[in-house]
């Protein structure tokens, strides 16, 4: 064909507005347009169903809407669990695996579909990598695209982007500069000065790292300590430095730096030094460094300084979004920093306080406990304390409550609003001894009448103080949950369903917005909690989903799709956190809406699966 006519060009143009066609080469789109047929389906007409046998046609919606219904019994029911719109295609799975479709596809309104014969569909898979990629990893691909959009949004000002999922091996800048531990300090400092480097690693004859010394150490270990420059290097180095393997991720290094207050991480394989990663390598462009923040928090001697650090955490969060840090890692880093913030606040508030001598543990509950706190979410916390035989729990509590109140207020100042009616350590019912907690939980489990509180509590995680108390409580909880209680938890987890019907209906919830937490992320969180309680373990929702699915022999593909879906919703919440839990449809682009629909579809699948598992 010489020159494609305007119809073929217009068809290619129309397709190019939608994924995956938007990333396909023009020649492939025209190749596709040449092979398309166009058919019409009246509202209610069945386009494709399981009884048609192996799928033979690839459909792309030109205009209109197609509803997918999972089984014939539910056909005509308003509870469509899948709705496809202009530019969307189906049935991918059935075509790829040469089987019949599992759902009935029905025109939700007068609909025109482009249709491509299966043979041409397969040929296109071979010709276009972008198309192949999309068809084989639909959700993952949309998420990837969405992430790029987000990165573009956030990173307009930064020229370089560092993925937190790069391996350390890819970040090593060159051969590490090393010395023998006996080398005189004067010689080492001369080398550092000559090469313009900020650190030196001592290695043994086999290249095993023995210690590290940085310019930062010079002041207090050498100058202020009054040590001469003729001492051997090993006298001033930090011995037994922390190492990570080369296949560890930038994210791991960042976490280690934040937790331990290091500025450098050694990369070693089989005991041999491979290179050095500095904080600068990880956050080359950030004005606010991870370690700087954690250092500032550790060194803060006043709440005002911590308030300042809380602002820095927000800035860092913004930067991390710009760098395309994966949601799971993002929330973990955020939680680590928030933990430090809480920990330091507790330390400060315990100074000269009567509560200082008590054995207690500060618990992060709810989202914070799951390490899934988003910016500005309400604080949920509690206290477990030790009360030995004969000790009066009430008396201990009266010492703890004023202190807890101050910590709660401080956290509110950092931007974690108080939750007056829910879990807070300064509420007497959330500040209990180990025995009291067990007693309360036995009642909760038996009656199943306080599921909202129970679920928040089941996410507990120690943040500061006597960790063994919290760990004992957690171990006990896992064994104390009865099958009957699990049944109640499941019913509770299924009490809300993902939004159904057309996109516009999604937003009919409250005042034209969709509650993305209640009808979105909470569905995954609640289901994952039940799975974890029943079978798995795990602290975060993705961990729980993966562990639960593994223990219950649910396919890892399903588990991954659920994790992806959940993390996407979390990402949306992070991006739109100013708006609270309600999502305004106008704020979402077409891609986001589409992924959100897919995420809701996954939520429904998860709920169906959960109901099955519990029935068995």
């Amino acid at each position: 064909m010489a020159t494609p006519n305007s119809l073929l060009l217009a068809t290619a143009d129309q397709l190019a507005r939608f994924a995956p066609f938007d990333s396909m080469a023009r020649e492939h789109l025209l190749w596709l347009a040449l092979r398309l047929r166009l058919d019409y389906y009246a509202r209610g007409e069945v386009v494709l169903g399981p009884e048609a046998g192996p799928a033979e046609i690839f459909y792309i919606i030109k205009q209109g809407a197609i509803h997918g219904e999972q089984d014939v019994a539910r056909a005509q029911n308003a509870n469509d669990w899948l709705e496809l719109h202009e530019g969307e295609c189906f049935p991918l799975g059935a075509l790829l695996s040469r089987r019949a479709v599992a759902s009935t596809y029905r025109a939700g309104q007068d609909t025109f579909c482009f249709e491509l014969a299966a043979a041409d569909f397969r040929e296109l898979l071979k010709r276009s990598e972008a198309f192949h990629d999309f068809c084989t990893r639909r959700l993952a691909n949309l998420l990837e695209q969405s992430k790029q959009v987000i990165q573009a949004e956030y990173a307009k000002s930064s020229s370089e982007q560092q993925s937190m999922s790069s391996t350390l091996a890819s970040l090593i800048r060159g051969e590490p500069v090393t010395c023998a531990p006996e080398t005189p300090l004067r010689q080492v400092l001369g080398t550092m000065h000559r090469l313009g480097i900020g650190s030196m690693v001592a290695v043994d004859a086999h290249g095993k790292p023995l210690g590290i010394f940085t310019l930062h150490d010079l002041l207090h270990r050498v100058v202020l300590a009054g040590i001469g420059l003729d001492v051997p290097f090993h006298v001033v180095m930090s011995p037994e430095p922390e190492t990570l393997p080369p296949h560890a991720l930038a994210h791991d290094a960042a976490l280690t730096m934040a937790k331990r207050g290091f500025r450098h991480i050694l990369v070693a394989e089989n005991g041999r030094l491979q290179g050095l990663i500095s904080e600068k390598d990880l956050f080359s462009l950030q004005r606010v460094g991870l370690r700087q923040i954690s250092g500032a928090i550790r060194g803060a001697d006043h709440l005002d300084k911590l308030k300042h650090s809380a602002n820095d955490i927000r800035q860092l969060a913004h930067n991390m979004l710009a760098q395309g840090v994966a949601t799971e890692q993002f929330t973990q880093i955020l939680s680590t920093l928030n933990d430090l913030l809480t920990k330091r606040t507790i330390e400060l508030e315990l100074r000269d306080d009567p509560a200082a001598g008590l054995s207690f543990c500060w618990l992060a509950l709810g989202a914070e406990g799951r390490m899934e706190q988003t910016l500005g979410s309400e604080q949920h916390n509690g206290i477990v304390f030790a009360a030995r035989e004969g000790e009066d729990a009430e008396a201990i509590r009266s010492l703890l409550l004023p202190f807890a109140k101050r910590v709660n207020l401080a956290l509110a100042q950092y931007g974690f609003p108080l939750s007056p009616n829910a879990a807070m350590a300064s509420h007497a019912q959330w500040c209990l001894s180990l025995q009291e907690w067990k007693h309360i939980c036995v009642g909760w489990f038996a009656r199943g009448d306080a599921l909202d509180q129970t679920t928040i509590f089941l996410d507990l995680r120690p943040v500061a103080g006597a960790e063994p108390l919290a760990l004992e409580l957690r171990t006990w909880l896992a064994t104390a949950a009865t099958p009957r209680f699990l049944g109640q938890m499941t019913t509770h987890a299924l009490r809300h369903t993902p939004p159904q019907g057309s996109v516009l209906d999604f937003f009919a919830g409250k005042g034209g917005t969709l509650d993305i937490e209640r009808n979105g992320s909470a569905l995954f969180v609640d289901a994952a909690r039940v799975l974890s309680l029943a079978a798995g373990g795990g602290q975060t929702t993705p961990e729980r989903l993966r562990a639960g699915c593994a223990a219950l022999s649910i396919g890892t593909q399903d588990a991954q799709a659920w994790c992806d879906a959940y993390l996407f919703i979390q990402l949306l919440r992070l991006r739109l956190h100013q708006e609270g839990h309600g999502i305004d449809p106008d704020k979402l682009n077409g891609l986001d809406k589409r992924i959100l629909r897919e995420a809701f579809r996954q939520a429904r699948k998860l709920q169906v699966r959960l109901a099955q598992v519990v029935r068995e």
């Binding site: 064909m1 006519n5 305007s6 119809l7 073929l8 217009a10 166009l38 205009q63």
Partner: protein, 234 residues
């Protein structure tokens, strides 16, 4: 002078090859009007002209889309701009968007009309407001090829209200009917885009056609005739 002569049925000059192609078309078997739509090809057509005066205005472009075995095959579509001796006026160009240069650089009339005939074959024609398209195409075929074009046509402007009598009083134009079925148009008043919209309308009407047992082109022509009577009587 040549233009003047053509008005009196002067035979246009065709090259030998062109004459042979025309003869080949004439020798094709006549249109099959009784074959079920599900197993036949018909062509939906739309034209752009220099104006709306049937007697005076000229054909500028033809757009056509084939419906085969009940589906539109995008690749089986054509669009051709007929070369103009005299470019149509400014307001007219604003309607169809075919500019002066494009008109002057169009395909010479004889070649253009032969291309159209060869694309058409003997498939029946469908349009919305046939009188206009038919008059323009007939005249262009006469002028360009000396052909007296006797071909089966069906007019959706009559078929649609016949199938949807409840809408007959409110729906008149192609736009009205496109609105009813949610049909979009990638470039309204481009011949090919309008032909596609008309073809989509044809597909959308099929549901009622089935109910009325209108399964082939001959049934369609009867339905249209009956509707013309209704309009005339009503």
């Amino acid at each position: 002078m040549k233009r003047f002569l053509s008005l009196f049925g002067h035979k246009p000059e065709l090259t030998q090859a062109q004459a042979a192609r025309l003869a080949a078309w004439k020798a094709m078997p006549p249109p099959k009007l009784d074959t079920d739509f599900a197993a036949s090809r018909y062509v939906v057509v739309d034209v752009e002209t220099s104006g709306l005066n049937l007697a005076r205005d000229r054909l500028i472009a033809i757009g056509a889309v084939a419906v085969s075995d009940g589906e539109i095959h995008l690749a089986d579509s054509m669009e051709i701009v007929v070369q103009q001796q005299r470019v149509s006026d400014h307001d007219n160009i604003l309607i169809h968007g075919i500019g002066g240069t494009a008109q002057a650089e169009g395909v010479p009339p004889a070649e253009a009309m032969l291309t159209f005939l060869e694309y058409l074959g003997r498939s029946p024609l469908i349009a919305f407001h046939v009188t206009f398209d038919k008059t323009m195409i007939d005249r262009a075929l006469k002028a360009g090829l000396g052909l007296a074009f006797k071909h089966p046509w069906s007019d959706l402007a009559y078929v649609a209200p016949a199938l949807y009598p409840e809408l007959a009083s409110s729906k008149h134009s192609l736009d009205d009917w496109m609105g009813r079925f949610g049909i979009s148009n990638y470039a309204r008043h481009s011949a090919l885009a309008d032909a596609l919209s008309t073809a989509e309308l044809m597909l959308a009407l099929r549901e009622r056609m089935r109910a009325r047992h209108v399964g082939n082109f001959r049934n369609l022509v009867h339905l249209e005739k009956a509707q013309r009577m209704t309009n005339w009587a009503g």
